[in-house]
Symmetry: C2
Subunit: 504 residues, 2 copies
């Protein structure tokens, strides 16, 4: 009765986080994408709250996702590397590390409080058995531990397994097709059906749920299903966005159909900025500088919408400086669950922002690997370090800021500005093009506040054990859990650990 | 009775064109400006049609405005120079030329059909007596012939006169203040009151009207009135935008109050892109490349909204390739006035787009001075010439593409690509960063169509007499009409014509 009543009365809300992959701030109509091909998302914003100043904790998949689920910066939760300075690391197949048992993921706490949790799509917090999402707070999983790179030959590198629950059920390119030439794949349709089915089941069981819908159609190689291929003004990437938009509409409809819409907070966002290395096959970061992999606005400002009928008032725009890490304290607070007190949580409780439009003063830290590159406080952003990618990569055609060149800002060396940080006003200078003169009163006034925030942050920072230092071809997805049942285990090479090479 | 009835029944609609000055595509909330500080304009779009792919005819004030009123490209209507190749010219105080008597401005034709026409704000089609707007189709004028540059000393250069009707009523900085340090000015309030009063008068007289509201608060030096100063997240420029947005709300309210809203088509747009030379004190061109003065998207794609209750259906987005030149045939068509047949009109009748959502296939030509720099057809844009500004200006700190650097595209020389135009897909590549390979089928297919369009265009092009070749300090605003009555005439130097120097 308790569970039934609380669920029905709204005292124990359901949660859905829709996390896009490499989608840029500028990819939604409501955020200014000129082709305006996202009617469902635009409508979701109209029915809820648009968050214009919302950030991921990192410009790359794995650390961003680890930070979302732990509420902690990657430097604390271990999703970083010390192999080299200020390098982005993630969880490729060779990675030895993953999410540590000591880390608390908010689904674990929801689970203890009676929630049923499902992850659909990309996990990316480690693929070895001990890192399996069902061992870290989730009850169900349909998706993959790594990016859908490939196809591999299953000899040098295995194709990425797809799991349903504890067990693998097949592999990308073998059992779950992504056509490399046409980009055709029905994966978004599968992931959407999984979400709709889960919502239906949970509504019937009247148990609260958390759905982490972490789908990856906008991550290269971009894909869309047949009905969407060729329908966008934006090419294949736009087709993928249109399909995701349609899927969002289907999921919100499912909530309405099963009458749990008034009791479900849905947050839509992306794990990092659009990938400029994908050129015209990637996302748009709108007016912002650079993209994925960088700590400029294009790398970490995310298209974010919060939707909760009868709780979040429609047609709101919030300038709240928000972070994906805020999901941890916010969802726990809304579920009336006490936060762990034995560790630093970087996220803040945004329930007052969502429910009452409050604006809470707080900094945003922009990290790249083990280095705090920049800080935002109010409208000011100070860069302590700048870097795009090295010249060697640039010569190979890799450019995280293609077409952009802001002198002393989009640097191709790791430039240390800590003695005199580069300061921008990100309200009047969206593109981080015009550093404020260090001789100005404005500079001194802003930097005084920022310096204190940085000092406090660094004083109280205890870095976690880095998880992204070691690689080993022996740990790749040769023998995923369940491969025996399917007769699909692959011969694994012997273990040969080496320090991962993180280029940027 | 005829006029009354037609006005009341909607067969003779009123027209308002709200033309902003140097406002960028990305400056409105509905077009993706992150601070979302334009609730009235966003609402106007929600009640009407958003035009995402709408262009000015030129990336600079005077030619853009001349093209708007004549429906003809500057190369035809004379608002260009042949002093040097592909140079932007306008009407500074020294300009000898202006709008030729031979040119037909659509207000002239509206006037003959019984309309009363008013221009409020910047004229910019020449300031010598023969170019006065009341001699070119307008019945009323409150505003100035040139930009509000200054203050001048009235010796080397006179301050710009402000006219009310035929006569000057004062000068900027002397009688109409713009505070150079604070940016405070009540000009937008004056221009708005002028509009509201005109609407009230016309509604009472029950005569159809055309209001050309050509205000300039977003042109440097940017200004806002006291109630708006310091209220924006975007600095002074944002304050100006907020005041304009508020003014738009007041004007639409006046239409409603006087019950002429259902009978008034209102079009909001801007004369050219945001000025990147103004750095963080200018507008935002959203995801587009470069800005004012250039033929990249940032220079000529304009934030455009059409609003006409009960005629234009709400919540529409149109991808129609539109041009400010289309106002000429569109407004005349809606007013049931026959187009002149003795000349080429570059604008097309968009009434079917506005009223019925039709999309009409047509090219957009991007000119700089006497050169066709680029063409857009469908989603493809071909650059025949590229140029930003010369290295000499660059060394002086002038940069029309600051922070952007697309190799072979944002060239600092006038680069001739006519033998193999640079081709972009502006749907999937908003920033004109990724030229399509000339070896591809896509390139050949698109260029085949574009080449034909260009050939036809050039074959049928008869350039007009260039109006922007000659300058003379003797023609400046020394003795504006009405100065005698006020005792405010200034001593003029003797005439000394010279070829104007157009740097870019
Ligand atoms: Ca990602
Ligand atoms: Ca202008």
């Amino acid at each position: 009765l308790g569970t039934f009543q609380s669920s029905a009365c709204g005292s124990t809300p359901n949660f859905i986080i829709m996390l896009m992959d490499d989608m840029g701030w500028g990819d939604l109509g409501v955020f200014g994408e000129p082709s305006k091909e996202t009617p469902n998302l635009d409508n979701m914003a109209a029915e809820g709250m648009l968050l214009t100043d919302f950030y991921s904790a990192n410009p790359l998949c794995s650390p961003s996702r680890a930070a979302l689920l732990t509420g902690r910066l990657p430097i604390r939760n271990g999703f970083y590397t010390t192999n080299a300075h200020a390098r982005n690391g993630y969880t490729p197949q060779e990675i030895v590390g993953g999410i540590a048992d000591e880390e608390i993921l908010f689904p674990e706490l929801l689970q203890k409080a009676g929630y049923r949790n499902k992850i659909i799509g990309k996990w990316h917090l480690g693929h070895r058995p001990q890192f399996h999402p069902l061992k870290h707070g989730f009850d169900e999983w349909f998706g993959a531990p790594n990016c859908h790179f490939g196809p591999y030959d299953n000899k040098q590198r295995p194709n990425i397994p797809v799991y349903n629950g504890m067990d693998m059920v097949g592999r990308y390119y073998e059992d779950f097709q992504i056509h490399r030439e046409t980009g055709e794949s029905n994966l978004t349709q599968i992931f959407t059906q999984q979400a709709v089915d889960f919502i239906e089941r949970q509504a019937q069981s009247q148990k609260p749920f958390f759905l982490y819908w972490a789908i990856d159609a906008t991550h290269g190689p971009v894909y869309a299903s047949k009905p969407f291929l060729g329908t966008s003004r934006r090419g294949l990437y736009g087709d993928a966005v249109k399909e995701l938009d349609s899927a969002v509409g289907q999921i919100l409809d499912a909530l309405k159909t099963h009458k749990v819409d008034d009791n479900t907070l849905v947050v839509f966002s992306s794990d990092n900025g659009g990938a400029m290395v994908s050129k015209d096959k990637g996302g748009s970061n709108g007016p912002f500088l650079c993209g994925k992999q960088t700590t400029f606005e294009g790398g970490m400002r995310e298209p974010t919408i919060a939707w909760w009928p009868k709780h979040i008032k429609p047609r709101q725009v919030s300038y709240q400086l928000g972070s994906l890490m805020d999901m941890f304290p916010t969802l726990l607070s809304l579920a009336d669950i006490t936060l762990p007190r034995d560790r630093a949580i970087d996220g803040i409780d945004l329930s007052d922002t969502l429910l009452n439009g409050k604006n809470i003063d707080r900094p945003i830290f922009y990290y790249r690997g083990n280095e705090m590159m920049a800080v935002r406080l109010g409208m000011y952003k100070a860069h302590y370090w700048t870097w795009t990618n090295g010249l060697q990569e640039l010569r190979q055609g890799i450019d995280f800021c293609r077409g952009e060149n802001v002198i002393n800002v989009t640097t191709h060396d790791q430039r240390n500005h800590t003695s005199q940080p580069l300061l921008f006003h990100v309200g009047r200078d969206l593109g981080e093009r015009y550093p404020i003169s260090p001789d100005s009163i404005e500079y001194h006034s802003a930097m005084k506040k920022i310096s204190k925030v940085v000092r406090d942050h660094k004083t109280n920072l205890t870095p976690g054990q880095p998880q992204l230092n070691w690689c080993d071809t022996g740990v790749m997805n040769w023998k995923p859990i369940g491969c025996e049942k399917l007769g699909r285990c692959l011969p694994a090479p012997s273990s040969n650990p080496y320090k991962c090479v993180w280029m940027h």
